[in-house]
């Protein structure tokens, strides 16, 4: 369960990203966070992953108070999250396989198991044939799918995606959206930040609409 109560986030420059936001997301739920660009969607996701800390209010993720988490506890919180970034954040000098294996290496999963799980994840996003390729040789949509494979390989209970269909044509977007739907169907909590109207209509589920940092 994720719950925000009266959360505000002000950046050092004085910019107010979120203002008094409260909501609860049950586990297994699928939620789309919408709003114009700069409305605070990314900040909201970053607060869940403890990439940012709230200026005011309480953010609870799986009963852990993000604002009061010890720095040493943050990595363990993030291991329960799958993060899909708008800019992919792939390692471009590493192969598709190595990129996907990174979370498992970090968690100390034994080598023989890593191979199996990486291939399962790559199979799920349709990239199994590209195992040895470098990310630069992939198209934008394929890179986004690789990012998703990396997010799901450690079987997180919560998946956070920031504009996952940002620069993709409708056909690729559809494939990605179907993937998120299938993760939701197997019980993963899916939270997607997007301003893509077609995606919103296609996905269904609950919508959290942000406007200038406040929830509508």
């Amino acid at each position: 369960m994720i719950s925000f109560s009266q959360v505000s986030k002000r950046f050092k420059g004085g910019q107010q990203a979120l203002n008094n936001v409260s909501f609860t997301i049950e586990s297994g739920e699928m939620v789309c966070v919408t709003g114009h660009s700069g409305a605070g969607k990314s900040t909201l996701l970053k607060l869940i992953a403890a990439i940012e800390l709230p200026s005011n209010g309480t953010v609870l993720v799986a009963n852990q108070n993000i604002g009061k988490l010890r720095p040493a506890a943050i990595p363990y919180l993030r291991r329960n999250l799958g993060l899909v970034f708008q800019d992919h954040k792939l390692l471009y000098e590493r192969s598709v396989f190595d990129n996907t294996a990174l979370p498992l290496l970090i968690q100390g999963v034994p080598y023989d198991e890593i191979g199996k799980r990486v291939r399962a994840a790559l199979d799920k996003v349709g990239l199994l044939a590209f195992e040895k390729a470098l990310p630069v040789t992939l198209s934008g949509g394929e890179q986004q799918r690789l990012c998703i494979a990396r997010a799901i390989v450690s079987r997180p209970s919560i998946l956070l995606a920031d504009e996952p269909t940002g620069n993709l044509d409708p056909e690729y977007s559809r494939i990605i959206m179907d993937m998120f739907k299938s993760f939701h169907q197997v019980g993963v909590t899916v939270i997607i930040a997007t301003h893509d109207e077609t995606m919103l209509q296609y996905m269904g589920g609950r919508k959290l609409h942000l406007s200038h940092g406040t929830l509508q």
């Binding site: 990439i51 940012e52 990595p75 291991r79 993060l83 954040k89 990174l102 979370p103 968690q107």
Partner: protein, 304 residues
């Protein structure tokens, strides 16, 4: 779930080795810099060892002469045991007044010196040999102490020479220490700088790793091993340089030493010291790398 401690450390060590080999020229130059920085104080240390060793073989020895007028064998005996009583004394030897007169006559080249004198004016002398590293202040204290013993008429020692030798030893020892500290700082700076460069080139990977749940220890570990390997190999490079240097200079040194008699053989590092050099630098470099990584990672932690 976790593959455990050993798995993590093996991985980090492998990664560190791979990174060292990835840039062989940069690695070689770094090792040369570390090796040179270490070989300088090490060479001075060896020099100091040899200096001390050489001084021990010189005919100049830390001695105090204690003069006495008594002829009574029992009194002479009790004086001897009183002199031996001090912890600084390594040996005591008696020069009788007859011997002294004879050697004086020889030195002055007057064979009938004794005949011209109604009685032998010279005293008996107890020559007190002190331990090699006795401080100059101690000589004055012992002089004071010995002159208060019964039947002693005078106590003498070559204060100036002792002071000079001691000052020379102290100077070389302190210079070596200061140079060692200075170059240890240089070593940590060199290692910290290579770690900084490593972190900069791997910035993306570190950031992504942090975002997907890597602990600081996990990220720092390869850098720590990187420093450890650099220190270890740098220490071995220093040993190699020292060996090469001593092989080159050995014939000339042997020539030089011939003039001081055959009793002196040049000293090198002992097996313990040979082992301590690379291990010590490895430890220092690992610590330096650890601190450098900690500092840079703290700066990189996203926005918190």
């Amino acid at each position: 779930m976790t593959g455990g401690w050993l798995f993590n450390h093996q991985r980090a060590l492998r990664l560190a080795l791979a990174r060292l080999l990835q840039t062989p020229f940069a690695t070689l130059f770094t090792l040369l810099v570390i090796g040179l920085a270490l070989s300088l104080p090490s060479a001075m240390y060896i020099g100091l060892k040899n200096l001390n060793h050489w001084l021990g073989h010189l005919p100049i020895t830390p001695e105090i002469s204690v003069f006495t007028q008594t002829d009574d064998p029992a009194a002479l005996k009790s004086l001897e045991s009183a002199l031996r009583n001090s912890a600084d004394v390594s040996a005591v030897r008696l020069i009788r007044r007859e011997e002294a007169l004879k050697s004086l006559a020889q030195q002055l080249n007057i064979s009938d010196l004794a005949d011209g004198l109604s009685h032998n004016p010279l005293p008996h002398t107890w020559v007190v040999r002190l331990n090699d590293n006795t401080a100059p202040e101690r000589f004055a204290q012992l002089q004071q102490q010995f002159s208060q013993l019964p039947n002693v008429v005078a106590v003498q020692y070559d204060a100036a020479l002792n002071q000079k030798l001691h000052a020379l030893r102290q100077f070389v020892a302190n210079t070596t220490l200061a140079l060692g500290v200075l170059l240890a700082i240089a070593l940590t700076a060199v290692v910290a700088n290579t770690i900084r460069l490593q972190i900069l080139t791997q910035r993306d990977e570190i950031e992504v790793s942090m975002l997907i749940g890597a602990t600081d220890a996990y990220i720092r570990r390869p850098f720590m091993y990187f420093g450890l390997l650099q220190g270890l190999l740098g220490g071995l490079t220093a040993l190699l340089l020292l060996t090469g240097f001593s092989l080159l200079t050995q014939p000339y040194l042997a020539d030089l030493l011939q003039n001081y008699g055959n009793s002196f053989t040049p000293q090198m590092l002992s097996p313990e010291e040979t082992l301590a050099l690379p291990l010590g630098t490895a430890l220092l470099a690992a610590l330096s790398a650890q601190f450098a990584a900690m500092r840079h990672l703290r700066q990189m932690r996203p926005s918190i």
